[in-house]
């Protein structure tokens, strides 16, 4: 199966800006899915994409799969209904830093706590891109946005620490400068049962880069490559597999409740 069989090519070219990191995420996700559909690891009819609002949340609409483009911040709440009502579905949630960590922060920690069996891909580009470049919960301190013209006075969230604190068993961080590793990470997340979270540091050249000293997307991915490390290094952002454990997923616990109540049909 070719990548173009997984995508709704009748919608190309997509709406994302030139050099948008969300496009790279779309690309590697489509390739990982195409491979899995091809070799039978995954059934395209059972694979579902869910997203909230924002640039990254537009991605599901480009996949030739069942997809639910929901409201701002709430994709994990919708995914909770989909996955628990039909545990046979493979649910992939695509979200962004504003969607997941600001308006949807509560759903993020509770989905992690419940260990909802979903793969969460968070396109973390430090900015509200769709609305024109406002500060987000992951914007670094001091950075300029349209609503922090004097520099961001707030400290940012570390999303991986946040979901690990809430109990997420599988957590990785990569960047759009690491497409090969990112594709492999998505594969691992699909293999794991339970809440898998991939924090993808990404570039928004239009609404973040140009206000913070980056001339184009290339300078931004260069920065991501130079300032991240798979080892703990002073002054660099840690990327790689941050946690990989096993925990009983939510739908299995619900199944046990049904068994206790006698409604499991056996």
């Amino acid at each position: 199966m070719d990548v173009e069989d997984v995508l709704r090519m009748d919608r190309w070219p997509h709406i994302l800006c030139p050099g948008c990191g969300n496009g790279t995420i779309l690309n590697v996700l489509a390739r990982e899915l195409a491979e899995r559909f091809e070799n039978g690891d995954l059934d395209p009819d059972k694979t579902v994409l869910v997203s909230g609002i924002g640039c990254s949340s537009r991605l599901p609409g480009y996949f030739r799969l069942d997809s639910l483009h929901t409201t701002h911040g709430r994709p994990l709440a919708f995914a909770t209904g989909l996955k628990t009502a039909n545990p046979d579905l493979e649910v992939i949630v695509i979200t962004g830093d504003g969607d997941a960590a600001a308006i949807g922060g509560n759903h993020l920690i509770h989905a992690a706590r419940r260990n909802l069996d979903v793969t969460v891909i968070c396109a973390n580009n430090y900015i509200y891109g769709m609305t024109g470049g406002q500060v987000s919960p992951t914007t670094p301190e001091g950075d300029v946005s349209t609503t922090t013209p004097y520099g961001n006075p707030e400290p940012p969230f570390d999303l991986c620490e946040l979901v690990m604190g809430a109990g997420a068993p599988h957590v990785e961080r990569w960047t759009t400068a690491h497409p090969v590793q990112l594709k492999a990470a998505i594969g691992r997340a699909l293999d794991r049962e339970g809440f898998s979270f991939i924090d993808v540091l990404s570039q928004c050249p239009t609404n973040y880069g140009r206000r913070n000293g980056f001339r184009d997307a290339r300078e931004m991915v260069e920065w991501l490559r130079e300032n991240t490390s798979t080892r703990d290094e002073e002054g660099k952002i840690r990327i790689g597999i941050l946690r990989d454990e096993e925990r009983e997923p939510f739908h299995a616990r619900i199944r046990k409740v049904l068994e206790k109540a006698g409604g499991d049909g056996d």
Binding site: P13, C20, G23, T24, A177, R218
Partner: protein
């Protein structure tokens, strides 16, 4: 390597990611006015350009295919 020119937005992440400098910016533009990349050297088939392309506009193919 095949570049689907109608989808390219000229970001040149492919040029940036190529480990053997097989790609470069060209002066050619597509219908929308975006400048296109071009192959200038021997491709080793690592497929990183294919994967990083935000517009899914690059396909790495075997040499004998085209």
């Amino acid at each position: 390597m095949r570049i689907k020119e109608e989808f390219c937005k000229g970001c040149f992440l492919c040029v940036w990611v190529c480990p053997v400098d097989a790609l470069d910016e060209s002066d050619r533009r597509n219908e929308k006015g975006y400048r296109l990349p071009e192959q200038v050297g021997r491709c080793t088939g690592c497929r990183q350009c294919e994967m990083i392309c935000p517009d899914v506009a690059i396909e790495v193919v075997e040499a004998d295919e085209g």
